[in-house]
Symmetry: C2
Subunit: 313 residues, 2 copies
């Protein structure tokens, strides 16, 4: 009989779940609510119940399941221990062991959500064909995931790839969510570029379409830039400059084959990868030049793909 | 019979060679001249001859040799191919295959010299007890070696750990050897701090012991700093600031357990690690705080130890 595995991407609002074949075909996909009450203690049992229900519905036996891959929005050690996950209300415990107990399925692998998304993109998305990629996720914050020789780089305390908090501007006076100043996330996230737009609109007297908008968003800024709006282009260029600089630092450490740009901001398209690459090449030493910059392709499914990939190899 | 392996660290002037036991005891150590004439084509056969002579002298048979680890001053792929090594006059070829042919010994592993030094320090030096370290070598240039889970991080084109060319100062007008401006190497190498000293002595009118010296060196600057010389302390603090910043970038990528500081400049001692750590902690996000900063312990032998370690596991 054909064998399957589950990819389970736990977010702060919903848990995305996918049922995959061995070759990586997504057979079924659904979501459940993330119940954060009671310190998040219901989340894993809700997931276990949902998986059991799916198995019975599809008439799949436990022995035909390769395993379960789980993505968590927080730092995870290589052994599957979560080191506090504020978003879910979790303290420190071994998620893999807990899920094995609840489901009776062994081979449970746990990873950080940004890292599993990177693995998913390497496997079936923008990084396909590569084994060494860096994914930069530009959403509310800036996340990173690093894949070395086809495996997630976890780091000694699960904090490898926390590239959103690389300092890129030493003159910045506003404080980042992390408590530092001048982090990449303050300029290159969806939130960051909107904040920068508000700041620029105040201090500049240039005319701009952005002044006419009731509601500023990363999308509206990129749209205006594509239409030639000078001020919007300044903002996009600043975002690309800081991403290019951060990517040059990252490359000097891990020398990847390609960078994959994902997250909501990446819907802006080629304008983003082209401009980041320009700034990257300007800032990197000769031995690290000519890297690929690709857009992510899996959208919100990158996580479940990456989770599945963790247990398949 | 006891088994052995060779560690061979190829430098631009001499080749350092060590004969090690399985447990990492250095039984014998010697050097031969690096003959760079004829496009460096004599280097590997000279090494092979020297190894054969040692085996016959010690009455060790080939079958009692685990293998040969070789460090090369240039980028090396994970498969042991050197991608041009200007220092030795070499083009692109597979060093491992060549040495196997010349010696009749299989299991030849090849690594970049900065990377093997890092592996050596992890095994028997300043990084002992850790599996995830970053070594920063402050010599004529600034080199880096990154060890993940006990293995060298090579990178897709052998350029992982090229951290000396992370840009740390965007206002710098002088050009680095790599062609860029503002690289870490321009401020944190032995050459760099001396150049910075000359610049500072010209523009400052502060009194300083450094003005009385006929010959400025990294050592004389650190010595003066330890004696309280204000100008020398400015220079040491600048070096430590840029190393702290670069280390914070590196940590955001690989999240190591410890940084090990080696190379000639590291003879300055604790003043160096203390001040780099201060700057590191100031520049890094909370999840990456409290890393160890240790001095390298193996000096010029780090390379041969690391080479041996490559073939022993």
């Amino acid at each position: 009989m054909e064998k399957f595995c589950f990819g389970v991407d736990v977010g702060g609002t919903t848990v995305k779940i996918g049922l995959f074949t061995e070759s990586g075909e997504l057979k079924d996909k659904w979501e459940i609510v993330t119940r954060k009450e009671e310190g998040g203690s219901l989340i894993l049992s809700d997931i276990a119940d949902s998986l059991k229900q799916k198995l019975s519905e599809k008439k799949i036996k436990n022995e035909n399941i390769y395993g379960i891959g789980i993505g968590i929005p927080g730092p995870i050690t290589a052994e599957g221990t979560v080191l506090k996950c504020v978003n879910l209300g979790w303290g420190i415990f071994n998620v893999a062991e807990e899920v094995e107990k609840l489901t009776g399925i062994s081979n449970v692998k746990v990873g950080n959500d940004a890292n599993v998304a990177a693995l998913g993109e390497m496997w079936k998305g923008g990084g396909k064909g590569h084994k060494n990629i860096v994914m930069l996720t530009l959403g509310t914050g800036v996340g990173g995931g690093i894949i070395i020789d086809g495996n997630i780089l976890t780091g000694s305390k699960g904090a490898a790839g926390e590239v959103g908090h690389i300092t890129v501007n030493y003159d910045e006076e506003d404080t980042c969510n992390c408590g530092k100043r001048g982090c990449l996330e303050q300029f290159a996230s969806a939130t960051g570029i909107v904040k920068e737009a508000k700041r620029l609109l105040l201090i500049s007297d240039k005319s701009s379409k952005l002044r006419e908008l009731q509601y500023l968003s990363a999308k509206s800024i990129f749209d205006a830039a594509k239409e030639g709006d000078e001020l919007a282009n300044e903002l996009v260029n600043q975002l690309a400059k800081y991403l290019g600089i951060a990517a040059s630092h990252i490359a000097a450490v891990v020398d990847p084959e390609a960078f994959v740009i994902g997250g909501g901001v990446s819907k802006a398209g080629e304008i983003l990868t082209t401009r980041i690459k320009e700034n990257y090449e300007k800032n990197v030493m000769f031995a690290l030049k000519n890297k690929e910059f690709k857009l992510a392709e899996l959208g919100n499914d990158a996580g479940i793909y990456g989770c599945a990939k963790m247990v398949l190899k």
